[in-house]
Amino acid sequence: MSGPSVAVFGATSAIAEQVARRFAARGARLFLVARDSARLERIAADLAIRGAASVHTHAADFDDAAALGPMLEAMGRSVGVPEIALVAFGTLGDQTAIARDVDAVGRVLTTNFVSPARLITALVERMEPEGRGLVAVLTSVAGERGRASNYVYGSAKAGLSTFLEGLRHRLAGSGLQVLDIRPGPVDTPMTRELGLGGPLLASAERVAADIERAIDRRRSLLYTPWFWRWIMLGIRTLPEPIFHRLQL
């Protein structure tokens, strides 16, 4: 039994790793990209034992435009044109440190918007002619309304969501689906470092299960956990005078 071919970009992120485990258990052929090659190798060993039919890795920095060509060549050599591509890299960063730092704002926007938009464009170029497949991209509920606590990151994710919306419009009827995944805050090393917490924090395992289901059902938009759809609806519709009184 051979499962689907899956390319994961940002494979060392907690959510991406959990999604990869689910596809490994289904006998997928995997292509993994991340910056940290030592962690990538451990994850690859793990996924192979969990049942992946094959696992190939490639270490690269997504912010380096020149690295894109060799990355996609490596993908071609290992899994060819993948049936599923998951774009999961990004940085949250400490907003209070970023907000007044011109260079940091540029870096956050690059990593969370420019780099994924560039990669997705190159992926679609290869995947569209196949007339099938799915590109799944992690954005965030933070993109739905600019808030003092994380508007730099949020605006990059908002840009990415708009990019995906337009791409889906362009690809309608092509057979290639585009999935916009909007997780709420997830319990990961990244959120823990920042001291985020509370009852609404979801586990990476749970979010990954939702993502797998959304991929299988070829959805175009996923809020995970589900209740964030309604929380964000509320937050979006708050009038500014009230919104400005809230610490969000």
């Binding site: 907690a14 258990a25 994850i43 060993a45 793990d46 034992i49 049942g51 823990r192 470092e193 001291g195």
Partner: protein, 462 residues
């Protein structure tokens, strides 16, 4: 920079009695674990896995807990020899979903060699507590199946330990309660079995003599365990149900695999439903379950027999906001029948019955760890709702019986044993103390290592 570790007041042990504040690190790679250890500042350190230790051996109040759940990668698996190397935060549940049930070259399947009463423990935790299972007679303790460990020490960095290489540290780490450094990796020898279905036989016994008779005639069975009715007194003292099981041939295909718990206790009820009345009803029900024949035979998937409580998530919350105490002792064979009878009499007399009263015999296979709990004899495990001093007084009475019988208590279940009882029960503790990592500590260790021994002896004699 100590302040970079977030604070938590929600890291509890399974018994939920001790409330404490911790700093938390959650590395997702061995390098991140090294980094957390390096920037601990003045904090003492302890690993925290799935929090299934009952008392205070997995807590380190006002210190740093390094959560190991993010270190959960399988690193190498040899399907011919059944040898698995994995990061220490991998849970047994995860192994059940992956390598358990994979075929051996000769038509069997790979299985966990030893498993405690829950699959929601980490590999590192299984090593650090040298856990045992219902197959102790044939398999011994978990540590007997560990081939190698990678330890991260604050004073020596990474240390590879096997029985031959750094053997002292290897033996100190097995059953070492996480005090000899952070366990990063574990190499485990899996066990070959015929299949993942078990033939299970349950037999009622009328008294302790009946229990020992069944234990003796069950030598051909891989797993044995008994439930005792700890409300029964007089001539019914020690009555219960004996369960024994063995693997059936047939591999792993078509055998139901464990999923997530189907029921869960979402919140802690303000008053515990596990009171005297429900206990009486529960015990009466169990006692009558086998009908007139007093015996039944069933075929069940392996995990259902081994982990009956895993089907209810967070069952520990049922004991209410004050939590509960576990008490597990082992007493040597010669003293066991008398000591167990005295323990059960004392409990029945106190009126503080235990919902889960589990009786098992442990075989003569030696445990490898300096502080390993398993030894030949009979082990009795009990749960008591925490009612404050009446409960602690009862446990102190049980302590005296265990001490007189030359037995010991299980540190993984303990949050209160006097230092004296620990030191008598674990005579290697001084050699062990030499091998404790200077940066590591726990509430348990501070209690039993630094306490004034004389005061403890007097307390025990009082």
């Amino acid at each position: 920079m100590v302040s970079r570790f977030p604070e938590s007041e929600t890291h509890l042990s399974w018994g939920r009695v001790l409330r404490a504040r911790h700093r938390i690190a959650r590395p997702s790679s061995p390098e991140a674990a090294e980094e957390a250890l390096a920037r601990r500042g003045g904090l003492s350190v302890l690993a925290f896995g799935l929090g299934r230790s009952y008392g205070d051996s997995c807590l380190n109040p006002d210190g740093l807990l390094i959560e190991t759940r993010g270190l959960d990668r399988l690193l190498a698996f040899d399907p011919t020899r059944g040898i698995l190397r994995a990061e220490a935060g991998v849970s047994l549940a995860d192994l059940l979903a992956t390598v358990v049930g994979r075929p051996t070259p000769d038509g069997g399947v790979w299985c966990l060699p030893v498993s405690p009463g829950t699959r929601f423990v980490t590999l590192g935790g299984a090593v650090a507590n040298d856990v045992h299972g219902k197959n102790h007679g044939v398999a011994g303790s978990f540590g007997r199946h560990v081939r190698a460990l990678t330890l991260l020490r604050s004073d020596r960095g990474r240390v590879e330990c096997t029985p031959e290489h750094n053997g002292e540290l290897f033996r100190a780490t097995i059953g070492g309660l996480g005090l000899t450094g952070l366990i990063l990796e574990v190499t485990l020898q899996l066990e070959r079995v015929e299949g993942l279905l078990l033939e299970v036989e349950e037999i009622r016994f009328e008294d302790l003599e009946g229990f020992y008779r069944l234990a003796e005639e069950s030598a051909g069975w891989t797993y044995t365990v008994a439930w005792v009715d700890c409300l029964a007194r007089g001539r019914n003292l020690g009555r219960g149900i004996f369960s024994r099981a063995r693997h059936l041939p047939g591999g792993a295909e078509h055998v139901e695999r464990p999923g997530p718990p189907r029921l869960s206790v979402p919140v802690t009820p303000p008053l515990s439903p596990l009171g005297r009345a429900s206990l009486t009803a529960f015990n009466a029900l169990i006692w009558r379950r086998l009908g007139l024949a007093g015996r039944r035979v069933r075929t069940v998937p392996w995990h259902r027999f081994l982990y009956p409580l895993d089907s209810i998530g967070a069952w520990n919350r049922l004991y209410g906001p004050r939590g509960f105490w576990q008490y597990q002792c082992v007493v040597p064979p010669a003293e066991a029948p008398r000591a167990v009878a005295r323990l059960l009499e004392t409990i029945a007399h106190s009126g503080q019955g235990s919902f889960l009263a589990v009786l098992k015999t442990m075989g003569p296979l030696p445990s490898p760890g300096l502080l390993s709990f398993p030894m030949e004899g009979t082990t009795l495990a009990l749960d008591f709702p925490n009612r404050g001093s009446p409960t602690l007084e009862l446990l102190a009475r049980l302590d005296r019986i265990v001490l007189e019988a030359g037995g010991r208590l299980y540190p993984a279940k303990d949050g209160r044993m006097p230092a004296h009882l620990f030191r008598v029960g674990f005579p290697n503790w001084r050699a062990f103390a030499e091998l404790v990592d200077p940066a590591f500590s726990s509430a348990f260790w501070r209690r039993v290592d630094t306490a004034d021994e004389r005061a403890q002896v007097m307390e025990l004699a009082a």
